[in-house]
Every structure is written in C-alpha cells, then in structure tokens.
Symmetry: C2
Subunit: 638 residues, 2 copies
C-alpha cells in the first residue's frame, strides 16, 4: 500500500491518546535567567499520608518531561501547523546565521516543486531554511569552546536538576517532621560511576564545559527551533532514543507522527526517523515540525532510495545533497557509518551473522563494488563543514556491530570503533558535536569491555548503544534481553540507550510495541542513574516506595512510569474503587499483609513515647505483654 | 468466593494448552546406567540451510526440558491420577525408609477424615507416606557425603549435559563441512565466573561432590517420587522458580494446577505453592501429585491459617505439625525464616518499607509479642531432624529482605544473612540440603555485594534470589526491573532466580503473567549462563543466529524461548505463509536487507575459488569490477 493512499495532509490530526496529561500530573515551567527560558517538567501530586501512618503532606515530585506541549492542556495543538519555534529568537540573536532564499538541496527543491506531493506536504512551514553565515560555525560545541553559555545550555542545566531544590523546600515545609522527611526522601545510596564526574547540581557552566570537552552534546539543529534542548553525556541523566519510521511494507505519515508523539509521551528523549519506504522527505518534515525532541536520521537510507536501492550507484554528490536536504529540514543528528573501512570488511566473512547494520551493509557493498574507501570516510571533513553550518551532530554509526552473541567484540567491531575514535578527533577539530554508536548483541561479561574501549578510543565522546542484547534466544522478548544490557552499559557510562521493541527481528513495531520498548528503556536508564548515583535519581523511587508502604495506591500508580498499566493490573483483581484505599492487596489478601508489621512496630514505639529504635531496643522486653494486649493487630485503624 | 464453589475433583482436567508439544519439538529420553534412568530433553528439529547459503543439514538441538510427561504425546495424562512415581523404586531400593501406617500429622489426619472435603480431595493417591527409618538420614547430601552416587545424581548429570555430545556428532556427520560446522556452532566466548568451577562435562561424581560440599542441592522429597531430579548450584545451569498459589481473594485448585503445568511448560525449574487462601492442604496435594518439578512452600503461611491469622498465637507445636504434614505430602523444600532474630527487628523501624517478606513479618510479630527468639530459631535442630527424615531441603528465608531501593543492603538485611550462614552450618551438620534466599530490591551497583557476602557468610550454599528489582519506579514492569538484577546476580553466582511477574506489587498473576515472568527469567538465567561461560550455553544462541542469518524463519521462532509469540509477531506484519521463507523481513523491506551483504561477500569469495578471507584480502582489489558485474545483488537467488 502506498502511504499516500492512506494519508492526506488536510486530514492530519493529533493522536488524542497522546495529549491527555498523565493522571495527577501537571505541566510546570521553570523559568531561567530570561523569560523565554521556560523549562518544562511534570509535577506529580500526591495524597496525604493516611492519619494512622503519620498523616503528613506529601508534596508533589517533579520528573523529566519529554512530551513537549502535547501534554499541556493550555497548548494549542494542530499538527498541520507544527509546534512553536521556541528557539528561533535565540538562534537569530546570535547573528551568525542567515535565512536562505530557497532550499540548498536540489532534491529538496524538486520535492517542493512537485505538485503531486501537495496533498501530502506539511502545510505549516512559512519560514525559509537557515544556515551559518559564510565562515561561521553555529555548533553548540563551538560556542562552548569560545566560553559562551547559550540559552540552550542554561535550559538543559535547569532541566537536569529536576526542580530538586523546590521539592526539598516543600518537604521541609510540611510541618514538624519536615526536616526528617526531607532527609528520608532524598537519601540515596552512593553510586559507583567508573570515573564519571557528576556534580551535585548541574550549572550552565558545567554544561558548557562538558560540551566544550566533547563529553556531552546538545543536538539542536538551527532549522529545528521547535525543539526543547536536552543533553547527552555520561555526567547527565541517561537518555533513551526511540526508533520510528516506515518501510516499503507499510505505515503512513499519520502513523509515524503518532508514533513520535506516543514515544515522547512515555519518555523518548530523542526519536530517530528510520523511514525507508515512500515519501521519506515529506514524512520527515511532518515529524520534525511536530517534534519537541531532537530527531536523528540515517541519511544513507534516503540516498539509497534515490539510486533505486543499488548501493554501488551511490555517489558523494547524491549523499552530500541528502545531508543538506535533511540539515535544512532540521534533523538534529545524523548517523554516518564512516568507520566501515575496506580492511574491516573481510573480517566479517567468518561471522555468524555478517553485517547486520543496514547502513554498514550499504557502505560495505559500495566499498566492495568500487574497491575504494567509502565517500563517507574520504569526504569526512566536507561532511564536518556541513554539520557545523547547521549544528547537526554526528552519531558515528557502528556499521560493523555484532548481530549475534557469537560475533560480539570481534576484530571487525573493535577495529571500526578505533576508526570512529579517529573520526571523532577530526569532528572535534571542526567543533562538531559527536556521539558514537555501539552494539548490538553482547553477552553480559563482555559489555564493560565495550564501554572501556569506547571511552579510550573515542576520548569520552558520548556512547550511544543499541541494547546490547545479552542473549539471542528470546525473539519476541528482545526489549528485555537488551534492556538488561542497556541498564548495565548505562551504568558503565553509556549516555544514551537506543531502545529495542518486542518486535525486534520479527516485524515493524506498532504503538504498543513502541510504548513497551520505551518503558523498558526508561526503567533501564533509571536503573543506570541509580547505580551511578546520579544526584536525586532515587527521589522517585523513594516517593513511590513510601506510597506503596502507606497503601496510597493511586500515588503508587502515578509515580510509576506507566500509571495506566499499573492501575489496570490492580483493577483486574480488585476492581472496586474502594480497593484503591484498601490496606492490603490482592497478592496476600487481608490476613497476610507484610507491610503492616512495621507499622505495628512503629505504633508500639510511639505509644511508649519513645523514638522507634529506643522503644524497641530498651523498652520492648518489659512491654511485650502490653504490646499483645493493645497493639497486636495486623490492621491499623484509620 | 470459596474455591470449593468452583472446583470439584470429579471435574478436574488437564489444561489442554499445556500439553501440546512445542512446534517442531519432540521429547526424547537419554538413558543412564540403568534402564529406569531416562532423562527427558526437548529435541528441536531444524530445516536445511537454503541451497544458496550452503545447503547444509542443520541437526536438531537439545534443550533442557522441565515440562515433564505433559509435553510427551505418548504419556497418559489424567490429573486425577497424578504422574507416575518414577523415583519410587530408587527410594525403595535404598532400604532406609519405611511406609507409615498413616499420616503423622494430626492436621493431615483431620483433613483426611473430613467427609466434607471429599469432593475437593485428590483421588489418585493410593500409597502411604514414607519416612526414614529410625536413625536414618535420607537426604541426598547424606548419601553424597558417604560417597554414594544415587540415581538422582546420575540423572541430573545427564540432564545438565544437554545431549551435547550427540549434537556435536550429528554436526560432524552433516557432510564435508561437518567439522567446520561443529566448530562454528559450538564455539563460545570464555566466560567470567567469579570463582565458580564448572567442568566441561558434568559427571555423576561431580554432582555428588558438589552436593556433599553443600554447593548444590537436589530437592527430592521421598514423598514426591513423581519428580524428575534437578540440581541447584552455581556450577550448574542457572535455574528459575515460579510462584503460584491462591489467596483469600481468589483462584481455585483447578487454576493453580493449571498455573503449575503452564509454568513448567515454559521452563519453570521449580514451583513454589504460596497459597494463603482456602484449602491449602488439598490444593498442595493436587499440585504435588501432578508436578514433575520440585515443589517449595512457606509452611508458616499455613500454620498462620491454623491460628486464624493471629501471628502471636503460633506455636512450635502447630508449626511442627505443619512441617510434618507437608513433608509427608512431598514438599521438596521449605522456606523457613529462622534468621529473623529479635535484635534485627528494631533495625527495620527506620526503613522506607519495613518488613516486606510475609514470613518475615509474621515471625517479627511473633517475636515482638512474646519477646523471645522465634521457635524457628530455637527449634532449628529439631527442624533439621524432620528435614532429613524426608529429604526436604531448607530454603532459608530472607525475612528481612529490602522492599525498596532505599532499604537495600542495610544492617537488618545483612545481619540476617550472617545468621542464615550460621544456620547453614547447623543444617549441614545434619546433612540437610540448604539454599539461601536473597533480595529483593537492590540497585545494580550493590548487587555484587549481596552475592559476595552470601558466598562468604553461607560458605557457598546456593543462593536463591527474588530478582532483585533494580528500581522501584516501574510497577507493571517489575518482571523487567527485576530481570535485569536477576541476570546480573545469576552471572555473579546465584544458583536459582525466583521469578517476578508483571503483576508484582499490583495483583495476583494470571496465566499470561506467569508465562511473561517465566520467559523473562529464562532469558535472564540464560544470559547468566552465557556470561559465566557455562559449557555449551551458547549452542542455542548460535543455532538461532544461524537460522536468523539464513532466513529460516520457522527455525528462528522454534529455537527461541517462546515460538508462539515470535511467530505471531512476525505474522502481524507479514502474515502470509510464503513470508516464512522470505529473504527479507518487515523491518527493512526488500531493499534494505543488511543480512544479505555478507552473503554477497561470501559468494564473491567462493567464485574465486578462494576461502573467504583470502579472497577478500588478496583477490578483492583486482576483482572489484567483476564483483559488480556478477555478484552485486542484494538478493541471493536460491
């Protein structure tokens, strides 16, 4: 089916399921040093603790929010208009870019002129593309190295701190036990972070220094002013990417836009459009104009379409035009498989699964056919010139990543990684922001080697890995086989985790799969942040555990990554609304509730007018009989 | 609803969904040194490699099979009769047990005499319970320490080797490339096993020595002769446990038996019946009589029911009678929370989530009410006497396990672990088999500490952990938050992983949840085996990856842990039967198949009459033009 058959621009509409606020959640904006720096967060309100447990207020907690204006009921959403160009003023102010009279890409101009595409075309773009003025470099890295703190940098600094200071203040203000509450609910285990250096509070200057050092990137194409700045680096919260995109076998523009809004609702920090089907150019335009998160692509996919799928017919000129076409649409990072060198290709011949990266296989085929190093490699500095004129970041692709446990960490993979390190230095010479893609399929005990070699070869440029999958034997569950590897490599220092859905190896993910993949990767990323000891990472766990202990069921659902599923699971066994305040749950039933004994312990102590430990250690012996008489009830009366 | 309302023994029937063989799978039996040692395995047959890829035969692979007679079409299944008493002869032969005239438990005799229970009662048991003769010790550990290799030990040795030798022989016999195939398909990464000592081939003598040393157990109550022996220890394949059981809020005997047969179908190595609802005794009887895997329980749950849920009314006498009641039914291991000492209880007062173990909270409440050490602790040696009279294994419960990230690795938890180590030594003094339960909720970076301390305190007695969950923020996905921790702790040396289902913290798992939990834990256990370098662990990954590379879709599905789901996912995008032989998949479509480039590389080499690497390294340069002319097709013709 042709996508056009199922999509008309005039009928494009927002996915209603993606624009409701999550339960008990409210979008707030934390203002920065200027009024147009307004950093979104999700505030989750909580019920008071039941009287019998202490009766204290539980102030709202704040969580990172990728969902953009969609989850803000005050926002006007019309996907035919796209999102507001929030960053336009910041870009213009810098005075180092210019509006172009027309698209620079020949292909882009052809598509624009093609009347047959009118009914597919995104109708809401009324500005011209921008580019750096001649000789200018508009990358965030360039500014950072000049010592400039951009609004984007300030924005991400505020974003990474998650309004923690306000939360702590509100805990202290809850009453006489406020100080104790604040200590309890912000306590966390010291992490183990393998040489990362995460400050207690992220400052704009810290952001700048990390970007300057190449240890983090802010993917922010000047032609994607709709995006909300975010940062990728191992001294920041671990991020996740969701892949979407059509294939020749299906999916329409409407569906792809829905997958994007759905991805960011559940926590996708960036989205890659990996379309390889029809109307790649127009699909991407719709996605970018409606996306508050950075969009990545693999430009070689589209270039290949332009030569009708014949890899050997690809040329530098076609590829170059594709880069410019996409850069002027606003793609924030490009996966470029420039490390697939001729000498590595024979190393794949004895693999179990050969070359599994699509981009890698296209380039390998080209290299073999021409017996030359690829134009990605030989024209790398020219690519850098394009990147810095739009601030597109490199995501240096691992074209030779292992596609099976058998092939993990082999010489082809590690050889390519070394080359990616060399290319990183070239990119950095041009102040082009760069991240490095990683595997793939790797058994657990070989994961750390990947991270360590990446840090060494690529000089701490952020690592961005797919999984890795820790076994090959569970098709249908590869979000989990890879979620294990993702959590571990995130702990070791990977900055962004590329999700895997349950459909991996089997089919194109639908919306349910996208959500399942996102939530799996959010929890993996969060587990990594906990293990690294990212400041404040444990606040959400603590709040949720307190709610769980106090049988605040709705709060337990709402503080989780997927309130809808948690609630529906609970409802399956105890559907009545009254069960939401029940002081037991269906697993154990009213006679077996283990959560209640500690409350008995605490109550017993309180009755003696002692603090808990003293009561138990000193007073317990003589009071045991009294405890039986007065307090030995599993159920606490409210 | 009373379970009796929905269950009548006369209507009990096997779950049809649980007795079909899995696709292309056949049950085989590997015979041991005597004809009644017949060790079941699942043989998965594979299609030949398509001619264009080499055309070789792919011999069947063998996988561990927990499903018992259910998946054997030759078996007569009637759950009202129960399974054949396979081990009865072995037990009788040893001459150290006797048949008792009647049940030894007072409660058991009451239930047996209660006519009102007739319609619920399992009708197929026509033998009397057995017990060790006076002064005898019938534990596998006792035999092992006397140097005796029991049929059970031989059975597990055969089982652990997974018919690898036969597989290798059949690979070699495939033809001229057989030797190469055998090398390729059995190659695996050397593991990292943290001091485990896994031999290349498991011998009966190795099994004996590990059991004697206390480093492994074979849970095999003499009153559960229906069970197929299996071993739990870190030098063996990592095992998983599935919990089932009713609660006061629901589920019938029929449903619980179905959950058991469903669990073992998907790979549950043991099943714990955690029933806390009605008719616990009768439910357990049905489960044990129909279970080919060891059954574990937490006897304190039933004891509590006997005192109407009032923990403080529990007595040693009631508990003791419960142990004997269950031991004579055939429970293979008992979780006993004997490490909950008075001095640890105050340490839980300042926890975020207090005591979350049901058994732990019951004992804590008892201890507080009586201000005495628990009868589990004070009568521990008497418990050992019961255990060794039936060969019930201890699973020393972690009553103070952390219920939140906040509480992980605190002094209460680690104090109890030390006590469990002391109790292990007492159990071993009696030659009672013992495993140690572990947490719970633990962030990734604190998992290894759990394992290391357990090995130290408990002298390498097998560790058996619940998860651990690596974050608290994903209710509805705790099979995954915990699957991450389970895979890691399995790698570090945990011998058995207790599964967690998606319903954890929210509700009672249904059959779908049970399956989701099992598959998640199977893949975690397998990832652990790969990382430890368990001999042959990678065979299944290699076979599946080869099938994937060769587009043998059905083989890819069938070699996976869940062929049904894999196939149904594939069918969603490409439902036609012909797509099952398609040489591309829906993710990339026909123009983007990356798997094919390596085939082009290999074909090119073959045409030059060179081996692959030589062709590529030496011949490529001059042959590049020819490659374009002859071979530059993404699609390989069959």
């Amino acid at each position: 089916m042709n996508a056009k058959d199922t999509f008309l621009a005039a009928n494009a509409h927002v996915d209603e399921a993606a624009i409701q606020p999550l339960p008990n959640s409210r979008k707030i904006y934390v203002e920065g040093s200027r009024p147009d720096i307004r950093v979104p967060m999700r505030e989750i309100s909580q019920a008071d603790t039941p009287t019998g447990f202490g009766g204290e207020k539980n102030p709202p907690i704040y969580v990172y929010d990728c969902s953009g204006p969609y989850s803000d009921p005050a926002a006007q959403i019309d996907i035919r208009s796209g999102l507001p160009a929030m960053r336009a003023q910041w870009i213009a102010e810098r005075g180092d870019t210019e509006e172009l009279p027309d698209l620079s890409s020949e292909f882009g101009r052809q598509r624009a002129a093609d009347k047959a595409l009118d009914e597919l075309r995104f109708p809401g773009l009324h500005r011209k593309p921008r580019r750096a003025k001649a000789g200018a470099n508009v990358s965030q890295m360039h500014y950072a190295r000049k010592g400039i703190i951009t609004p984007e940098m300030e924005y991400v600094a505020i974003r990474e701190n998650l309004n923690r200071a306000a939360y702590i203040e509100s805990l202290k203000a809850t009453g006489p036990t406020g100080e104790k509450m604040a200590k309890l609910l912000t306590r966390q285990h010291p992490g183990q972070n393998f040489g990362a250096s995460i400050p207690a509070e992220i400052t704009p200057e810290f952001v700048r220094s990390e970007v300057a050092r190449g240890r983090a990137i802010i993917p922010n194409n000047i032609n994607h002013p709709e995006s909300e700045p975010m940062i990728i680096g191992r001294n920041f919260l671990t991020k996740i990417n969701a892949n979407i995109g059509n294939s020749a076998l299906g999916s329409s523009i409407q569906e792809e836009v829905e997958k994007m809004t759905w991805s960011i609702r559940w926590g996708g920090d960036t989205v890659m459009d990996l379309s390889t089907g029809k109307n790649i150019h127009e699909t991407r335009e719709w996605i970018i104009r409606n996306s508050p998160v950075p969009i990545g692509t693999v430009p070689i996919y589209q270039a290949l379409e332009k030569v009708n799928g014949k890899a050997e017919d690809l040329t530098w000129e076609i590829f170059r035009d594709t880069l410019i076409e996409q850069a002027e649409q606003g793609v924030d990072y490009f996966t470029i498989h420039a490390g697939v060198l001729l000498r590595y290709i024979p190393m794949t011949a004895n693999r179990m699964t050969g070359i599994v990266s699509r981009g890698g296989s296209i380039m390998a085929k080209w290299c073999l056919a021409h017996h030359k190093e690829s134009f990605l490699y030989t024209h790398f500095e020219e690519i850098c010139e394009i990147m810095k004129a739009y601030d597109v970041a490199f995501s240096l692709g691992d074209g030779l990543r292992p596609g099976s446990i058998y092939d993990a960490n082999d010489e082809a993979q590690l050889g390519e990684l070394k080359t990616l390190g060399e290319l990183t230095e070239i990119a950095w010479k041009h102040d082009v922001q760069t991240i490095i893609e990683g595997p793939g399929h790797v058994p657990m005990h070989l994961i750390k080697e990947n991270m360590d070699l990446q840090l060494e070869y690529c000089k701490e440029a952020p690592f961005y890995t797919l999984g890795p999958l820790t076994t090959d034997i569970a098709p249908g569950y590869d979000h989990i086989t890879s979620g294990i590897g993702a959590a571990m490599i995130g702990w070791y220092g990977t900055a962004m985790l590329c999700y895997v859905t349950p459909k991996e190896h089997l089919g194109l993910p639908d919306k349910n799969d996208v959500k399942e993949g996102i939530i799996t990767y959010k929890l993996a990323a969060h587990a990594a942040d906990l293990a690294k000891g990212h400041p404040g990472a444990q606040i959400r766990d603590n709040a949720l555990s307190k709610a769980r202990y106090e049988f605040r069921w709705d709060d337990q659902f709402n503080l989780g990554l997927d309130p809808d599923k948690a609630k529906s699971f609970h409802d399956e066994t105890l559907p009545k609304e009254s069960a939401k305040v029940a002081h037991f749950c269906s697993m154990c039933g009213p006679h077996f509730c283990s959560m209640k004994i500690t409350q008995d312990v605490r109550d017993f102590a309180a009755k003696q007018g002692l603090n808990e430990e003293d009561a138990l250690q000193k007073g317990m012996e003589t009071k045991a009989v009294e405890f039986v008489k007065t307090g030995a009830e599993i159920y606490h009366k409210l």
